[in-house]
Amino acid sequence: MILHAILTVAAVTVSSLAVAVFPRSVLAFLLFQGSLLFVYLARIPTWLRATLLGVALLVLMPLIGAYNGYYLEVATQVGIFVALALGLNIVVGLAGLLDLGYVAFFAVGAYTWAIFGSPHANVIFGGGFPLDPVWFYVFLLFGLLVAAGTGILLGLPVLRLHGDYLAIVTLGFGEVIRVLANNLDKPVNITNGPKGITPIERPPTLLGVSYGEYFYFLVLLIVGVVILVNRRLEDSHVGRAWEAIREDELAARAMGVPLVRMKLLAFACGASFAGIMGVVFSAKQVFINPESFTFLESIGVLAMVILGGMGSIPGAVLGATAVTVLNLQVLKGLSLWLNELKNAEVIVLGYNLANLPTQFEPAKYERMIFGMILVLMMIFRPQGILPARRRQRELAELATPNPRHVVATPP
């Protein structure tokens, strides 16, 4: 214990210093993130874990952002995808419903604010838009509700479908939303088609922080709430009903679990997380178009859930972080590094890298990465890197009305 405590504190301190000293080094930032994972997994008392993570996320990360703004951007993106992964986790991981069109809910949330929070709505309604930026906060809730509603609409017809068919139908829905987003610029211009919508308003920032920092903290806050909601749902008769549905739908039904209601609830909850993040996303990006909401994104979120562990909250966090960092930093870093090598005309194994075809760009190979993650995980570790922990209940404490949950220590 003591050893772990010392190591974790050291890891966090050293890695954050490393980032401060080498702001351009991707490796340093990765080390910093690695140290956070270490803090999560180490055998240290809960208070130390909470303190370290709190300090790292609330203090160190923004400081790192001061040294290199891009890292803060990466952290914010990670946060957004963590929320998405947690949402999909409910649908796929808990309830066992393979939704391949999940990004549609993200799109719905994003377009909801984009339309009303930009001058675009004037095209539809004649005038009066954009709304005052403060409305953004109202739209956080509104986007959540619209997405949840879409989730229920999607859920209703697909309820009776099983496994494969459900997956394909949700895929179809996702594609329908994408095509609609691309083409609903006539007869009434709702989405402005492939041109996208811009400029989207941002709410006024608080306490004079920069927008980078503002969105970082906002995302962090929402992710915190999402995690809380997830845990409470998981640890209730609703969460147990979802798992029962995933395990054996027939038996669940025979035990009195109302399938329709539970499945719709799963869809609605999952969709609402995507919806609220969609609103944040559009305000942060200031510009959205249908290109951000394709099948690739849906599979990306699925890869996150699979990598981390289906039905596992820490798994979703890890998966989202790993995949986002992979895309935003590692692949991109590889591209940049390769370009440097090409420019320097480095020779590898007798081959001059300057001769590499110009079309070859590692940053574009997200699909290959997602694909490999999915296949390799399914074959070698389908339960994910941080599998869902069967929460051990201490029955002896049942004398008190509050059953104590003891989370089994990770291997």
């Binding site: 017809p157 068919y165 179809g172 329908v176 095509v179 574009k364 490999m372 296949v375 399914m378």
Partner: protein
Amino acid sequence: MLDWPLLIGILPQVVLDGIILGFMYALIALGYTMVYGVLEFINFAHSEIFIVGAFVGVEIMLGLKSAGLLEALPWPLILLLVLAAGMAASGALAVVAERVAYRPLRGAPRLIPLISAIGISFFLQDFIRLVESLWRNAFNLVYPTIEPLNHRFELTTTIDVSVKALVVIAAALGMLWLLHALVNRTRVGTAIRAVAEDQAAASLMGINVNRIISLTFLIGGAMGGAAGVLFGVQYGLINPYTGFIPGLKAFTAAVLGGIGNIPGAMLGGLVLGLLEAFAASYLSLLTGGAFGAEYKDIFAFSMLILILIFRPRGLLGEVVRERA
């Protein structure tokens, strides 16, 4: 009001387009339906197996072109060569995919091999891109034209059809007939049908189930590869991502006909092709330009959703019941 002469005037062309599209969907759909029949598994990667055939075909043709042979050799020979190569490549790829990514997961709950298949699909898309980027520094490729194929016949004053279209239709028909003969008139075909009915019983009858499954992937993949070559010949432009949408639509066709049912896949393909051609041509005319051909994709997807919800067994399929 509706311009009836125009609407009727374009009808033959629409029907022709629909038939060509339909046969192509049918060929791809066969791959889905055969695999589903034998394993109850949707081979999500089939859309990439399809497009690999197209790529192998284009590479051969581009190779012939740079060797100056494209004009020299008779076009039926070129076509046969390209078809054979495409079929072989796609078939082989399908078998490899099965061995590597599906067979290890055969006992697992249904979601797991499906996710693996999705992974293979995505992997292959970028893999093709990688290979083509390194080999040719381009991955948006165009099928070189073969002059004789572009000649157009005039059937009547308003309808003309290109040699290319006729060739594609003939080739597709040939493939379909070959498959029909294989499945219904050979021992191998009977074995495939037996395994599709009841794996356990088939193996008790002495059938090597694993070999038959590999063979099924081979044949289904080959059909997809043939479709890929014909797709390239007919439409010209391909890239590693062009397989996705036709693949999804072909799956719709397979479901429409009754998944697992081979004649169903052929029928479903044709029906979907015709419906889509009609949607593409008439939607814009009927709605006064409000909703045009770009909605034809939604049309196919909506079809899929509606079939799966209201008649999941499709047109020719059987009802599947779960026993408690």
